[in-house]
Every structure is written in structure tokens, then in C-alpha cells.
Symmetry: D4
Subunit: 253 residues, 8 copies
């Protein structure tokens, strides 16, 4: 529940256009909405989050039992706020879309979000680049999140450092974006190269693309942490969500 929404609601009450009871009901889940299962609280939705962080509830689906996931989604949707669910399997996406038609899938990602979440007039510019075709899924997740946070987003995919001329086509993007998300697997060198070309913050996302000594993204992660470009910070392996989120925050400043 955003602070604007809370304010609007109070105005309605003050003007007699909304009963105290209705207002109470709507605020009942604030700042924590409880999700129950088998008579026990299984989740505490941080409904204050939109007010505090400027972003709707995000649910990391991975690791959660499906029954818990359903209970959480139902509770979250009931509030009317934006909602994003990440790291879903194809099977879960199908089941959730059937049960909750308000949810829609972002193409090429494992994410569902509430229809109508997106801001009408995005502002600023977030550049999302990735090194290889295998990194596109993570990059798109980052782009989606930044978009949901109100940012204008441009992408440039498959621009790995072993063919620098592939990065040239992104020349204008490199000059104009306010913040960059750079996604790469294997040796994870792209953020360093991009970081050297721009004077804006670069959020590096290592991916689990690669094999053998890529160690599921560890190599890319370590490489990015040791970037010789000083404007690079790093998030967890395959964490497109986090990168998009921080990029969205920075883009707002």
C-alpha cells in the first residue's frame, strides 16, 4: 500500500465517502498481512513495503511449497497493489495463471506479474546488457523489474567481450542511460568493459551460464567482484530481480 493510497483513503473517510469500517478493512493488512495455512501463519506480507520502498510485494517462488505460494498470492492480490512473482517453474506458471487471471507472464522469463502494474509514463533510462544468448532470461527479468518501478528501459543482448564490435551498436545507450545492468556468465568480463566506457553506476549480474570451471556462476561472480572498473557493484548469481530493483531505485534519484 503506497503512501499516496493511504492518504487517498483517509481523504475518502474524512469526506464521508467511505465508511470507517471499509477503511479499516482495507488497512487491516497494514503493515503486515498474515497468510495462514493449517491454522498457522506461513507468511507475513510486508504491506508497508510499497510505502517504505516504493515497490510492490515481490514473491520468490523457489523453495516455497505450492500451497503456501497460493495462499500468499491470494492474500497479496486481495490488496489491490502491484505484485511480482519470480523464479517460477513452467508448471507453476500454468497453474497460477489459471487460478489467478490477473497474473500475466513476462515473455522469456520465469516471472508473473499483475496486469496493469506497469507505469504509464516511464522516465529516466536504464540500460540492460548481456554477454550471451544464455543470459537473456536473467536480463529480461532485470528489465521487467526496472520497468515495473517506472523506468524507461533499453536492452542490448549478446555483446560478449570476445567480439568487442558487438558492443559498438550499443554506443548511444552507453552514452545516455542513467544506470546500467550488465549480465554475464562464464568469465563475467562484460561489466568491467562497460564500466570502463561509462561514468554511471553499473550493476553486474553473474549468471550460471557456462560449464565445468564456471561452477554454476561462481567464476563470473568472483570476476565481477574483482572488476578493475570502480563503478561496478554486484548482486547474487542469476539475480536479475535484484539488479533491476536497484537500477530502478537509482533511476528515480
Amino acid at each position: 500500500m503506497t503512501s499516496e493510497r493511504i492518504h487517498a483513503l483517509l481523504v475518502e473517510v474524512a469526506a464521508g465517502r467511505m465508511t470507517v469500517e471499509e477503511a479499516s478493512r482495507q488497512l487491516s493488512g497494514f503493515p503486515v498481512a498474515l497468510c495462514h495455512q493449517d491454522g498457522e501463519v506461513v507468511a507475513r506480507l510486508d504491506t508497508q513495503r510499497a510505502a517504505r520502498h516504493g515497490f510492490p510485494e515481490v514473491i520468490l517462488a523457489q523453495g516455497k511449497r505450492f500451497a503456501h505460494l497460493e495462499a500468499i498470492v491470494e492474500r497479496a492480490l486481495s490488496g489491490g497493489e502491484p505484485l511480482l512473482i519470480t523464479r517460477l517453474t513452467s508448471k507453476r506458471i500454468r497453474r497460477l495463471k489459471i487460478r489467478f487471471p490477473a497474473l500475466t507472464r513476462e515473455p522469456g522469463t520465469d516471472c508473473l506479474f499483475r496486469v496493469g502494474c506497469e507505469v504509464r509514463e516511464p522516465r529516466g533510462l536504464v540500460g540492460v546488457l548481456c554477454a550471451g544468448t544464455s543470459d537473456i532470461g536473467v536480463a529480461r527479468e532485470a528489465a521487467l523489474v526496472a520497468r515495473l518501478m517506472g523506468a524507461r528501459v533499453q536492452t542490448h543482448f549478446d555483446a560478449g567481450v570476445a567480439g568487442l564490435h558487438r558492443l559498438l551498436a550499443a554506443d548511444e545507450l552507453l552514452r545516455t542511460a542513467r544506470v546500467f545492468v550488465v549480465v554475464a556468465g562464464m568469465e563475467g568480463a562484460l561489466p568491467s568493459v562497460v564500466g570502463g566506457l561509462v561514468n554511471k553506476p553499473v550493476i553486474a549480474v553473474p549468471t550460471s551460464a557456462g560449464y565445468g570451471a564456471a561452477f554454476g556462476g561462481l567464476t563470473a561472480l568472483l570476476g565481477m567482484l574483482n572488476s578493475c572498473a570502480a563503478n561496478v557493484t554486484v548482486v547474487n548469481i542469476d539475480n536479475g530481480f535484484g539488479a533491476g530493483y536497484v537500477a530502478g531505485l537509482i533511476n528515480r534519484l
Copy 2:
């Protein structure tokens, strides 16, 4: 076989209410009951355990062949003592429940235990908290074990450190429990925060919840071992059983 049970049995014999043969049979598996398979000993049940440790036999199902598991369960149930089986698959739970109706499943866990195991008048208070919805399975396992050991147990789930106000609802529990089990995955920071708020022992359980650099619970484990709160000790990743067991022991003191 608890020492009370041994004593009671001897009283029966002395009073002529039980034949020596029957008493012999009941004591035959003491202190080690052998389970055979293919003419070889495949397990040595520690029947002295209840007397020595105050807790029934616990069987870690994972890694055992099903035939061995069956043989062990059969032998353990024949003694009349409490029994707990952990880390079962859904399939094994179904098969064991059919074959051994005396077993019942704890909801939301991978555990079976003998019906009637639970103490009638639990005492003390063990607080079981967890950071996220994905950690509930492990937390419930800990709660079950503490309960089987005679403890009163209260739970508080989904109270991760990124939304501290979610921990506030556990205020009373934090003030009254004699010992805490705190379960968390990802960065595993909850035990440190809880440890700083209470002056009782905190048993931290890292879970494998998370992805990428969570490394299957290693990150949470390392974080907990380095807790800046001095009242925190740690058990193995996902080891709800061990945490509940030690909490039960401490709660008895």
C-alpha cells in the same frame, strides 16, 4: 527402553505378574537390538538410548535402502518405545504408513512418528522462529522433536531481518521461552538479531533455501557460525531434528 520402563518390568516380575520368559523377551534387545537382512546385521538399534538420552530411537531415512529401513522400523516398533523417522520421501511415507499403521505424519514435514509418542503435559517453552516461508518445513521438524521430548513449543514463522517489524509480533515469545530454535536460509542473519534480543541460548539452523551464492545453505551456515551474538550455536544445514533435540534437552534442565 526408558529406565522407568525397565524398573516397572522388574517390579512386575518380582510380583509374579510377568513370567521371566516374557521379561527376557522384552529385554532381549537391550542395549542393542540387531536388525538382519540377507543373514547379515544391517543395523544395531541403540535400545539403551531412551535410558541414556531420554529420547526414543530416531531413524535418518535418507541414504538407507528401503529394505533396510523396513527392517529397522519393524524392529524398533516391536519394542513398544517411541519412534521418529526423519528425511523421508513422499513415496516412502506412503509405503511405510500402509505397512505400519502405528506411524503418523507430522504435517508440513518429511517425518513419521509413532502415534502416542507425545507427552501429555509438556513443560517449559521452546520458541521456534524462521526467516522465510521456505524455511517452515525445517522449523516444523524442530518443533516436532522438541514436542516429542516433552517441551511446550510456540512458533513464529516468516520473520526475516529485512522487515524487522515482522519480528515484533513475537515479542512475548522472545521474553518467555527458555531456549530458541531459529531457522534461516539465504544470508542466515535472523539468529544474530534474535540472539541480540534475548538472554537465552539460541540454536541456529541454516537451511538450503536460496539460490546461486547461497550454495545450498553454506552461506547461511557460515553466517551463523560468525554471529556477532554470543549466545548462538549452530547445527548442520536443514538439521531441524538436531536443533529440536538440543532445545528439548536444554528445556529439561
Copy 3:
């Protein structure tokens, strides 16, 4: 050499106030100034950096032979631009200060910088917090760098998560800063807690403070990468410089 400086220089030439020769000399090291030793190029100073990145040359002293370091410092100072040198030993600090009186040491850090580097009217606000007294050196390095980039900086030290009330004194800072640098060793949990309290970007810096399973900062690093707060990004262990740099960049937006 900043673009302002280049422009000013050209204005001087156009106005006849500076000879072409002098302008050429000043621009000679642009965009790469070579440092020689034993007739070989040992460093290529990126003099375009100030124009491109808005920040002076920064020299990582660690790992460099002292002769190389001297050559680089001499060349960098000759250009008149700001200069920062990090990760110096006490002995090297003494030797460099004697040879280059234009350098001054930031108290409590291993850094030297050129006198007069600091911006007169800092703007915005960068909050720099650390968890323990052992983390202060790294935190001060971050604060220095942000300051050199024109940011107003406030610090709040020794506010680890095992005593949350110590964080309360930073309440105002938490509400007002535009971006945060949060430094912590051991389990590295402070960034998650701060991240949950603010809706601004948090740059987490793991430190090598701790012992045993702290593994020289690895544990803190992993914990921060797995933060359950979505607004946290991470830099290398003990990399106060990098965190301050990115905070400075974000603060400018």
C-alpha cells in the same frame, strides 16, 4: 583532466593567453600518460578518466613495486588533477609524504590524497555505516572517496545487528541519505537490516574482520550477496574505495 579543464585551456589558447606549446604540453598526457621505468612503459595513466568518469586518477598501491609507484605518482601529480592512492603501508605513506608534500593522509585509513582535492560545497548525502570498530578503516576509506567526489557524508560506526538499539541513533541519517554504504565483517548482516529500513540503494562492503570461519571476509561477502533485502549490491572484500566511488556516482544523479 576534466572536460571543464580542457575547455578552459582551449579558451585560454583562443584568447591568446596561453601558447600553443604550453597547451600541447599540458594535453600531452591525454588520454593516456605513459610512466617509464628502465626504458619500458610500466603504467598507462588514464588521463581521460576525469572527463569520462568525473573522478581523478586512483592508484591501488598494493602489489606495485615502490619504484613503479613513485613513477606513477610523479606523473599523476604533474598534471594538476586530483589524485588518490589506496592500500598503502605505513612505511610507504611515510616515504611518499616526504617525497611528495602535496599528498596528505586521511586519518584512520591507508590512503593518501592530493591536498585541495576536496570539493568546497558538497551536495546530496551519503550515509556510511559500519557494524564494528574493526570495520572503521574500510568505512572511512569509503567516506573519503565519496567526499572527494563531491558528496556530503555522514558516518555512524559500530552499529552491529546483535544490538539493534545501537542503530536507532542513526534514525535521521537513515531517513535522509540518498544512498548508503554499509560495512560489516563476520556474518555481514548489517546491510540486510539497513536495507529493510530504507528505500534507497545500499552498497554493502564485506570486511576481513573476524576469525576462523569468517575466512577473511568470504562469509560476510556471501551473506551480503544473499541479502533478503532487494536494494543491496555488493563490492569486493575491504573495498571501501569502490563502495565510496559508486555511492559518489549515485549521489550525483
Copy 4:
């Protein structure tokens, strides 16, 4: 400051035996006492700790600059409460003892504590065992801390599992203690063996004793986390302090 002390102080004020000014002064550092250096807060002493946790301030010296350490010790001693400092070097011990005669060293450890800290009538019983002569330093630190927390302590050193008869001499201790601290390096097997013999909580402390694939205590740590005895919990490598602290807490129950 313990709650008893706060109460006593208030009684004094109520009875007119202490001026409000004096009481204010004594309470001024409550709940957080600030230590300054160079005009900046470098430490926030948690003076509420004794009331909250029942134990005085403990200072981990390792990693702190000596000037910071001095400032903290001075502030902590001024309050009149117990004080413990761990992980000191020999040189620092000498310097601190000269400056603060109220401090005394525990033989065979790297700890200083305030003279008079120890409880006059210890109660309960904490058993502290170690596997090898190299582990004695860590074991003694644990014993000291438990003692400072009011526990009666008995030790049994050099009782590694490759010579089980060496453990026999501890037979009575194994039967009578309420909680155990078991210290071991190399493969770290002693806690499992002790854990199998007792029905009380065992706090295992891995040490960095060993070489090669002991990896500075990592092997012992991992072994203890995987103990087949269910009553074992684990603390960080060489963390005698933490183990003694939790043992002391448990011993009070």
C-alpha cells in the same frame, strides 16, 4: 549494568542517599556508552547487556586498532561492571595491564578480565574437555567464560579418540555435568564420542590445531556439524568464548 544494580541505585536515590546528579552520571552510559576517538564515535558499548544478557561487556580485541581498544577499555572500566577482553596478543596484554591495573590475565589464554569479576559461589557444573594439548588454550578460554558467568567448571584435557581409555578418567565428570564444552582440532571427533556417552547438551568447538588438510580448523568444524550424536551444536573455529558463554547460559537454567 545489571538490573540489580539499577534497582539498587534507584533505591539509593529514593532513600536520599544518592543525589539525582550522581545517579544520572552513573546511568549516563545506559543503554549505550559512546567511545570517541578523533572526534568520532568509534564504539558503542552495550551497557544494557548485563541487564539483558546477564553478562558483562566482552571485547574482541583482534582486528581493532590499539587506540580504539584503549578507548573502549577505559570507558568500560569506568562503569564498574565486569569486563572481559579476548584474542589479545602478548604485547597488547602487557601494555593494557600496565595502563589498567584492574585487569588480570587468565593463565594459558589470550584473555584479560577485570579483577573481582568472578562469582563467589559458583553453581551447577560445566564440563570442559579437549582432545589434544594444542587445544588447551581454547578450552581454558571457554572455562574462564563459564566461570565468569557463575558456573562451577571442571576440565579434562588431552583425551582424544585415538586412545579412548584416556577419556575414562573423566567418567564422573561425564555423569555429573549439566552441559559440556568439547574442544578438538584435526578431525574433531571427540564431541561425537562424548555426545554418545552423555544425555546433556554438548557444545563443540573446532580448533585450528593440525596441518595440511586440517585447513585451519575447517575439517574439525565440518566434522562436528555432521556429528552422528544428536546433542551436539557447534560454534566458530577457536571460539572458546562463545562456547563458554552458551554453556554458562544453559548452566543457569
Copy 5:
């Protein structure tokens, strides 16, 4: 081909009881028998091995394509020597037994061996112990291999260190065996305890039994390498074959 067999064959030729052609054919694969597939050599059987090492060909099935495995088995069986195949899947065991009826499965293992391989009058004594029921498969593999090498073998299973009395039943075995194979997962402490009780070589086999920080057997492996008993040497995780082989070699001395 054993040296005895080679000698016997030459005697037959010398006595005119075998043609030179037939002897040539039988020796054709000596010392290396080639296995072809798709017109390329895919395996070089070391037929000199029996003569050099006193043991038949052993084939590690894991990692080999089934077509390659078939070709190798066919070639190996054609020579008339003993044969052992390890690390087979259930499916492969079924398929190979159908195609090669000369192969038989050792119960409770993933091994096939040639019927009639076993020595008629085993000698010496190899003791094979394991810590838990989950380790039995690996222990049986070791026992089989030692047996195939002519050793008398006795086993003692499920004798983990957390219940030392379970080891007592093996008292006679501990006194009489010439060499021991000790198999354990989790913390892997059993070899140290056994090593301390006997004055014979102990070959320790870590297993992948366990979960979480057992890291697939790494913890047990490290523990065994750091054994405080000096008579312990170690083989790879789950390498029952190697342990049985070395025990068989030592038993022959």
C-alpha cells in the same frame, strides 16, 4: 592372465599338447588387448595386470557409454580370467546379466563379477566395518574385492562412534584381523576410533552418506585424512573397491 597361466600354457606347447597357433591366439591380447568400436580403439585392456598385480581386470562402469562397456566386457570375458565390474546402475546390471550369463551380482552392491572368480581357500583375515546402515553398500564392495583377492573377510556393520558399545561386539575381529577397512560417512570418525584400538593398518573409506555440510563425503574424507590415529590411510569417497583391493594386497604379505 596370471603368470601361472602363462607358464602352464607354455608347458602345454612344449609337451605338444597345444598347437603354437592356439597358444598364439590365447596370448594375442598380451599384455594389451584392444577393444574396438566404430573402427577405433576405445579401450586397451591391461591383460598383464593379473601377472603384475595379482588381480583380474576391473572395469569402472560409471562414465562409460554402454556400447563401450559391452565391448570391453566381451573382450575381457573371452580371455578366461576373472573379471569385476563396479559402479553399475540397476538397468545396466540387468542388461549385462542377460547378455553375459557368466556374470553374477554381489548382493547389496552395484558390482558384477565372473562366476567362479572366488578363491577356494581364502587366507588371512580382513575386517570390514562400517559406521551406519547407509554405508553398507560401500562396505560390501570392499569385502567382495578382498574376497576375490583371496582374503578371508569378516564384516561388522552399523557401529558408529556415537554408541561405542556397538563396537564392542566386534572385539574379537579387532584383535584378529591383519588389516581393516573402515567405512563411514557424515563426520567419518570411526576409523580414528578403530585405529586407536588396533595395531594393524586401517584403510578408511569416506562415503557420501549424510546431508548438508557433509558435502557429498568431503567432510568424512577430510576427517579421515586428519585422523589422530597414525595407522590410518584413506581412499576416495565411496571407493570400496580401492580399499578392498589394498586390504587384499596387504593381507597377502
Copy 6:
């Protein structure tokens, strides 16, 4: 597109045998050919590669979505240049062969390549050896790539160091090849032994063959990096492609 091809095309245009339009079309993807999916660029084929590197486009299939893979293959085939696809699953091989009949599979590998890719008169000599039967797939991938780069290739499989006489049959190959690819799993010792016998470059390829402490090829990788033979360099685990590629490059010199 090779430089020869570009030159030939320009000759055709100059001679009036090709229209400018047709030449434009053929050159349109030079130096980067874009592959689209869902209106977004998902791959940038480096069509300049053949000219720059002397080798056709190579597509690492692993990690790519099938739709992306199809789009890339279609685009790559349209140019008429050689094409190699590595790390395919059996299912993907089947699907691609049906859709693109120009592709053929190399036996015993997971690779597809364009029919007719191979040079008619290979030159030089690349020796490809492997230690065990499990390593043959990787060795064949290396051999294929070297062959596609114009090299004459000879293989010698299953020649591990525990039976040195198996290496003798490769005597002539060891004396005559210009460069070696040596593939090994487990301890990865073969490259050192081969490296000691030859005075040519040896490219070592660790494989994931083995189990337990082989750690998926990490052990072989580390062993090769520490080779006591100075003529050994190393590529990633299971990277037969890379080794064959470099061997092909060296063979051309």
C-alpha cells in the same frame, strides 16, 4: 565469411557477374548478423570471425533456449559458411537434424556440423590422446574441431598413466605430431607424462570423468595446472572444442 570469400565476391561484382544488390545481400550480415526473436535481438553472429580467426561460427548450445538455438542456426546456415554446434543433447540433435538436413553429427560426440565443412587436404599433424574410455567423447570433439580447421589428426585412446605400456603404442605419434591434445579425468596425470616425452606444445583437457573427490573435473584441472612438465597449458573442464581449436591454430603456424 572468409577474406577469400569477400574478395571473390568483390571480383564477381567488378566483373559484372553479380549485381550490387546480391552482393549487398550477401554482405548484409557482415560483420555482425542479428538473430531476432519476439522482436528483440537475441544473438549477434560474429560473421567477421572466419576472416579474423580463420574458423567458422561455433555455437555453444548448452544453456540456450531451443527457440534461440533454432534462430541462430538458421541465420548461420543462410550465410553459406561452415558451422559447428557443440554440447547438444540427443533430443536437440534429433530435432535440429530434421529441421536442418545440412547438419551432420560427429560419431561419439554431442556435436553437429555442416556437411562439407571439412578441408580436403589436411596438413600438419595433431595428436589427440586420452587417458580412459570415459574421456573419448571429449577427445573426439577436440579431434573434430582440429580437423575442421584443416589439421591432419591421429588419436590414441585409453592410455592412462597406471599402465605406461599402453602409451608405447603411440610412440610414433609422440615423435611426429606438431601439437598434442591430451584428455584425462580423475587425477589428470597423462598430460604431464606426455609433456615429459615430447618437445611440442601439449594442450591438456580435464574431464569430469571420475567420482567422489574428482569433484566433476576440478581435481584433474588442478593437477594439469600444476603439471611439472613446462610445455603444458590447460583449458576448461570437458572443453574439447577449445583444445581442438587452439591445436588447430598452432598446427597452422
Copy 7:
């Protein structure tokens, strides 16, 4: 105290040649002799070891405080049995030799042992090989220990696998020894090669020789654990003592 010695002593008593008091005194430290320091037991010498294990007390000096070491050595020497001390620093060797003239240093090692320890008529044959000159210290420690256990020992140093002809000079040793100790650092491949040439047990000792990705002996250790030769078992990094000990045990069989 060996069983022979105990027997002899009892014979003396029975024959009236020794008083009961004297025999009592001599047996007083049996089976555990206590070493005190500061009124506390700091070591429990396993005096039964010689009878149980056939080898005198061995003291690992590393990690022990010097005062403890002195107390242990004094106690051990008082019993008249053989004594070996390993992993001493040069300084400690000097100090101990001055205080205990009965101790002598083995050249090229960090070991002291009691003069006269060595058996007069060694038997069997232990072959000790090492790969490089840097491994000689560890190899000599192994040779010393085997010698002290009564074995005849022959060494062959600097025979790494990159120059196989250097191993040829050891041809006779390879054919005649009953058991081998093979020491190697870096990639640790020598045990596999030796293991393939002999049909006796090979005890592999990884050393910390090497740099970079040798990781202090970890690479050699892993390589040896994955040896493709089945007769190889492994001890800890740099553990010459353990290898020599087991070789000595095997040599006795």
C-alpha cells in the same frame, strides 16, 4: 612400554630381583602417564601404545606451547622407551637438544628422536620415493619412521613423472620392496605411475611443494585420492610420519 618389557619386569619381580615398589614405580605411568603444568593435566601419554601398537610415543610438536612440549618430553624420556618428536622448528630443536641430550636430529628433517631407538637388524624393505627435491624433507621423515619401526629402507629421490627415465634407476627397488611410500607435490602424479608398475601397497603423501593453484598441497592430495592405480592409499599433506608409520606396520606383516 612394550609387552616384552612388561613381561621382563614381572619376571624380575617373580625372581625377587626387583622389589614390588620399584616395579610399581615403573608401571605407574601405565597405561596413561600424566604431564602436569600449573597444577593441571596438560597431556596424557599413552604408555600402552608401545604394547598396543608396537611403536613408541610420537609427539606432534606443532601447535603445542613450548612449556607443554618440555613437560611431555621430560615425562616420555623418563620411561626409557623410544621417543620421536615431529614438526619442530629449528629454534625448538636447538632448545630441546640442549636440555635433553638423549635426543638427536635426523638430518634434513624437522624431527628429533631418542638416541638408540633404531632397531639393530631391520627387516623387510620399504621403498621411499619422491618426485622433486622440495619433497625430500617429507620423504626423509617417512623413511626415519619406518626405520624406527624396524624396517629396512631404501630411498629414491627426485623422480618426477615429467622425466620418466629418472624413475628407471629405481627399477630394482620397485621389484623388491614390500611396500612403498611415494611423496609428491604439485600435481602429485608419481604415486599413480609407481602404483601401475608394482603390485604392492603404495602409500601416497602429498606435499605442500608448489605455488599458485597447488593450494598448499590440496591439488596433490586430490590427485592422489583419484589415482587410477588401485593400490594407492593416501595420508594428509606433508604427513611423512603417518606414511612411514603405516609402511612400517605393513612391512611387519
Copy 8:
């Protein structure tokens, strides 16, 4: 001893210009020259190496006792062949130069080599690049070795990927060299970028430059092994020698 030298010597004998005795003496150390110390062989110089590998003896000084080092150097110099010693400390360099005036130091490295080793007319071209000033020592070692093997060498230092324009100055070198050695620490990305620009083999050398999560060169090593450029192979951390050696071998083809 090169094959040319052996041939020349035989010619001298055949012509009667050299006595058989003298020729025998000179050949006495062929193919293995023994170095003794304390009556034991401590090194076996591979004097056949020059003939087999085309390069003189190279001695890795690190890890060797100085007495052993001296013995080896003396023996190696006596043969008249080229000699290179790597990884010396400053102190050892001083001592060896005094004792063996035939040795000279390569500036900026830790290497000594025999005066007059260098080829008079170098041929081909080896390009040696490094990313940072801290990598120069390793790069120079590689350049020295390639030079001693007869290669013409050009260097280009301090050309890290965060400032790509610094690589431009090496444009001609990138087009003309036959093989490249690329040295980098931290994230180790330079080899990928260079590899993408050239069509020649690139030998990547990770260095231990960096701090924190650089893990002593591990990060750079992993990055290089996962290079997205296919023409990159890798050697051990800081192994300038090995890279220069292989580059020298390739340059000869």
C-alpha cells in the same frame, strides 16, 4: 646438452681431437646428472632435456633448501649448457650471484640465468601483454623465457580492460605476433579481449595481484579458464615461466 652439442663432441672424438676419456667425462651426466648431498641423491638433472625439449635446465628455486639449490646449480653450470633459475628471493639472488658469477639477474624479475644464454638472432615474434603494473614481474619472466628460447619478444604493459584505449597502442603488435602471452590479475579479463582481437594462440597467465575475493589469483585463473574466446589456454597462477616456455615452443613451429 643439445643434440648439436652431442654430435659435435662425437665428431671431435672421431677426428681424434678429443680423447675418449674427455668425451666420457662430458657425457657422464647424460641423460641424468646426479646431485648429491649428505651422501644421498637430492636431484637428478635431466641433461637430456635440451636435446629432447630444446631448452636448457630450469630450476624452480622455491621450496628447495638452499644447500640443495647450490648443489644443483653447481652441477648444472658444470655442463656448459644454458641455465635458468626462477622464483628466487632477493637474498638468494645475492648469495648465488656471489658464488656463481656466471649468473645474471633479469631486471624486474626473480630469475637468474647464465650469461650468454640468449640467442643471437631471435626469430618470430611473441607478444607479451599485461593488464596492470602489478603484473609486470610475471610478464617479464615470460618474456625472458621466450627470449632464451630464441624468440623475438615485444611487450605492452598496463593495458587493462577498464580502459580499452590503452590496448590500442598495441595495435601493431596484435596484428604481427605469432603467439601471445597475456598476463592479468583481479578478474583476469584481458586474455578474453585480446583473444577476440587476434587469430593466434593466446596463453593466459593469471596473477596473484588483487585482494579480497581475488583469492590469490584463483579468480583470475577461473575467469581465464572460462574465457569466451576460443583461442585461450591457461597456465598456473603467476607461472610466467610456463607461459613463456610454451610461447617459445609455438613460436618455433
